[in-house]
Symmetry: C5
Subunit: 362 residues, 5 copies
């Protein structure tokens, strides 16, 4: 690529975005990294005193086994199959637009109320070993006594909740489906607390590093920190709106008993947002710290130059003086003149070094 004539038209956007653009609205296109695997549909049904679990490949199979009087949670792992989603949509009377949002992994977090269901999109964030944020889109459809969740891949974020349902010791079994939805969202949002706090601590460490040493290589770290900050901000910011709407909604599907829990959810997401705001100040202060380091290095270089120049110029002047060709220069005749001069040079050099050390330049 010829960097000189590089134009922004040469920059290409995320191909997943391009995939979606220009299609008629409501078209079901899976924009995630395509995986060949078949989606797995699993269901958990529970009441205070019983739990049933079963899995299947089609929604019909699930349908036949459901017992109507229990709280039902259907989880769908894998959202790359338009046909299956269509079936789900038809079976549970979901709007086409909702199905489209479920498949489009580039959707923003959103909260939408319909007459018969509440639709929520959240992003689950992990931070695996390679230090790059990994995001998965989680969609929740809350209906009367039924919760349907959609995941891109069989994730572990829901495992804790599943274990609690099975164990039956926590209060989750005694509450309705809206509390279940809350518990799942709480699990997702708890993840963000870890991630944002960790990121904020990382920025503290990066600041320390920049205060301690300055190297051009560290610019890469600053660049990356900015990028990660942007990623975090773009996910958390709309999520705050979503949770606020969940807290504010008066939809009949959210019982008053669960409502006080959503207030807690909102508290958490507000706290996350605070952390991110704080990170912002840090991220945008990094360059300043780096530059103060660069200036410091410059000052040290200049000091070195000045010291070197002062010492050598002084000694050279002495040598220059005794290199003059005057007929009458008594020192030149003396047998010790040379040694005395070398001695004087040594004393001058030493004196200058002491002087600069005294001035704290060395």
């Amino acid at each position: 690529m010829d960097k000189k004539n590089y134009k922004y038209r040469d920059a290409s956007p995320d191909p997943r975005v391009a995939l979606k653009v220009g299609k008629p609205p409501g078209t079901l296109i899976y924009t995630g990294a395509k995986k060949e695997k078949t989606p797995v549909i699993s269901a958990i049904q529970f009441k205070e005193d019983k739990v049933f679990e079963f899995a299947a490949n089609t929604i019909e199979e699930i349908k036949t086994q459901l017992q109507p009087e229990l709280v039902t949670w259907i989880n769908i792992d894998g959202i790359n199959d338009p046909k299956m989603l269509n079936d789900v949509g038809k079976e549970f009377q979901l709007e086409n637009l909702s199905l489209e949002d479920i498949m489009n992994t580039e959707s923003r977090p959103k909260f939408e109320e319909f007459d018969s269901y509440i639709f929520v999109i959240l992003k689950d964030m992990h931070c695996p070993n390679d230090g790059i944020f990994d995001m998965e889109q989680i969609s929740l459809v809350l209906k009367e006594n039924l919760l349907i969740t959609f995941q891109e891949e069989p994730g572990d974020v829901f495992d804790g909740v599943r274990a609690r349902i099975r164990a039956g010791t926590s209060k989750i079994r005694t509450r309705g489906v809206d509390y279940l939805a809350y518990a799942l969202m709480d699990a997702i949002i708890d993840n963000y607390i870890i991630i944002t706090e960790t990121f904020d601590h990382y920025l503290d460490d990066l600041e320390d590093l920049l205060y301690a040493t300055t190297h051009r290589r560290q610019l890469t770290k600053i660049k990356e920190a900015k990028k990660h900050y942007n990623t975090l901000k773009r996910v958390v910011h709309p999520m705050k709106d979503v949770v606020y709407n969940i807290y504010r909604t008066e939809h009949k599907l959210i019982t008053k008993r669960t409502h006080i829990y959503t207030r807690d959810l909102y508290d958490h997401v507000t706290s996350i947002d605070d952390t991110i705001l704080q990170s912002r100040d840090k991220v945008y202060g990094l360059m300043g710290i780096y530059q103060s380091g660069t200036n410091n290095i410059m000052n040290n270089i200049m000091k070195t130059l000045t010291i070197v120049s002062a010492i050598f110029m002084a000694l050279s002047l002495i040598a220059g003086i005794y290199g003059m060709n005057f007929k009458h220069m008594p020192e030149l005749e003396s047998p010790y003149g040379y040694y005395v001069t070398l001695g004087i040079m040594f004393v001058v050099a030493l004196g200058l070094i002491i002087y600069f050390r005294f001035k704290k330049w060395l």
Copy 2:
């Protein structure tokens, strides 16, 4: 031009602005780049099971062929003919102000409700090969069972929708005229997703370039990026308001069924706005990256100067010492003195180079 005495009064605004200013309100003046061609009026009428298309040069010709019971979309390519627009206005009872806005290509995006119609101005943005944003003003008039659209030139942004109407496979044929209007606006806004994402990626590349190399020529790129950012912001910002108003309106012409689609539209435009906000931070950080590069260059120059000075001054001092005219300097008498001295010089130079390399200055 004498740059020294250049005053802002010498800067002239866009002549298209000047053209419009000072005229009585409601005057129909076409402010776009005047094209000599005659406007082309085309109409599409459809129902679930039929589509009719026809074109003409005057609105009367169109009028005579319309079948009242069908959904009607009249598209007018070319808005430089005041007389034709006047006819359209009279035929469909449009306010004079709306006609003025249609012709004035400098209008801001706007949404206006009237008793009998909804009036929307949007900007369609392309990014052709020469890398300069190209904008076209699109006006939509939504009436009972009738949509009139105005374009500056026969564009391709509506072609996708037209194709879908003809094909009859998508749901567009089964919905009313408000859904048609939504589909067209969706096509326009989808374009922005591409453009803003591309621009944001371009900024990432530009950041990388600035981190990697620093050259005064890159200031031009920074300047251009700022300019493009400004153009984008000025178009998208009011567009967000427009779409918000479309989403919020309770005008009878927007059915409840289409309303949930406008929510989607608003989500898209919000996401576009997020991208632009992110671009802003990047654009305004470019100068800082450039300057850190400049500082770095400065440090390298100073290091070079210091190294050069230290080495040559040290060697010159040695030469100066043996240039002194003392009677008694034993080294001078030695037959190898000269060679030994040259050798010492070489060793000193080498030592200094090793020293500076050790200090990572080289």
Copy 3:
């Protein structure tokens, strides 16, 4: 003035402000640059099919000639005569505070509703040849079928509207007095479009100038740009509020028919505000561009210094070596030694120049 001990108490505010402060509220004091001339009162009365115009020095003279059934526009040029204003106030039942605001040329733009009239203050801005903003306060009093306007001096901003009334071709004659008020305000605001756009273009040119060359003299331009930006902002910002209030008011004097025009007015003033916001970013970026220029100059100076030092030090070392007094230095004996040495010096100098050119320092 001794700059060292200069305190802000030595800075004196605008004498026109001082004139007003501490006086009892409602005192009529003309704070503009006092002109000795007598105010001129002129009236235009019109209906769809007739226009009457007449002028006078007192409001009574005017009063006697008015025909009650026509739309009446009384324009008062010159507001430095408290007695005359008092007469006007008494004649048309204006509040004392309104009269005070009319005379106080330091008033902020404002919109006030009273039971029997609407009171608006706007600032008309010109940008004459000497490149300094010139501002004039325009007050409008809108009453039933009567508009009174107050100008500081016989301006040309209303001339266009006057011509349109006389010509009778535009729709202004067919509408009421509220449309007339709108037309006048539109004329004033159109002026701002020109001025803000021109100023923004000027800033673009200034940016280009700063990117191209850096000179301390340009700081004056930056300083002036800031000042002009401040002036513009302080006028336009409250004007936006005023126009918004005009658009929002439900006062009976503004008919529904005119209301849709005020929406247009608001669109214009919003667009002006956008331009100013954009100018802000430019104004505050100027210093950064200037400083990047300064840094660039610094780098070039340092490069020059390094190149000069490297070349001369190298050549001096060679000369120094052959200035040593060793007994045994074979080169010194050679008859061509001197010329060869000069040649070597030339080659070394050339080599360094080529080296620095290769490193793009030259």
Copy 4:
């Protein structure tokens, strides 16, 4: 103080704040600079056609002389006597919290409505000769037909109003007690117009000074400007809220006739706030101007160094060449060689000076 280990815990807050903290709420403690003098209570009673004035040391003395049917203004100079304030509070049924606020000179400006009175705290600001802001707390209690004002010391801010009451020429005598309260607040706020405008002009002068010359001493001025800006902002900001609440209140004690005056008050305080916002931009731009000056100085130093080095190095090289000990150097033999060489040196030095002047470095 050992600066190195200085911690913020060593910084002590204003002792007046410490005085107040930790006391039970409602405790009457005078936090101002304690003065030994006895408070002076004075009263003015007036009607359209009469004025009575009298003073006393206790509220009882005043009480006995009051004539119930007149508009009454009681002014209390000196608020350091809790007993007296308690008497006032009991006499006029004031809340304990209000009394506490009156005595606590660190109170924020506030507006509080009670059933039977309106309570306002404002700060009166002077700028005496030593150039340091001097602030005095003014409290107003507006009751039915009675206004009580509290001042820290016998100030002159109310003198103008007092004079107008005595003179009886202005409309103040014909209006009620709420207009009197307005007139007093107007007097206080008018002071701010002067102070903020003066401060803003001072900043302009300071900018000019920084553009013209750069000296480390000027950092003190920048520091002081910031401090003064902070003081101003902290007082004016809450005052805007107070005045807005006065304008918005529907308390029965504010008549509709006075209400339109409070709108004027709000206009003034908004304009003051605008000036302060503008000052903010200036204050925070000062450092940038200073630094551009520092950079400019640096460039000039570097230019000097480069010029000095270039000239001396060039001449030294010439001298070095003719200091070489080659046997065969024809120039050395010439009787004019020395003079010619000196001449060449002179020409080279002159040439370099001309060259650098040509490059505008000199």
Copy 5:
């Protein structure tokens, strides 16, 4: 730790956060620094004319001694015992979520209304001798005639209120339980006034220090100031919301008589917030002051270098000239040439020093 490859995933968040994350909501986990001590429950009951105090280790013990008709304040020191908290919750019908918040010392300050109680979390801040902020979470549960407070450790913030209850001289004994809650919150918030004012004064001192001297060591102080600012902001910001909600609530447990005190509370917290905002500007200006100091040092170094170079180069040139080997150089023959030359050198050096002093470089 290899700094080069350090990734943010290596940064670990506060272990107390990690402790809480992923647990089912409502789980009682104490996240504070675990202390082994048993919680101490103490109760104060009072009426206008009597006070009873008693302490115990279990809530049952307390319960038995309570006299129902008195105002009751139960204070619980130590919140690390889930069982005890569970008992309290059951005894007084508290929601599980509230109990969880009480134990989770990482909770944000919050205000929550329930049908039968009001729940408030505040942070009490101390600034002990080692200059590091120390925070303690205080929870208040306000019920009918009963206040329960939870502290992490037996603190002194409530001691003043306790003393006032015992003394019976202040009005606290005559008011209800809501006034008691107000008094406690007032005590907490008063602490913040001291802390924020002290911090702001510390920043002033730090600014002065930076203006006076520049040393890389001071970067640590800047870093710490930022950190402390962040801590303060994160606590005070949500506290402002809490107090605003307390002021705005219409819950029946807050009597109208106490309501006017909460307005005062809000005034205090607003003033604290103002101080923090002001601190923000100072904190973010520190780096600029530091850098202007660095630039100043750079200028001084460059001046030194230039002076040193100019003097030595000039003297060396003179020595070089008389080191030339021209046959005919009359000065060399003179017996005083050497001394005269040394004299000239001395004069030149002196002259340059005077010149640079005159230019204020020395």
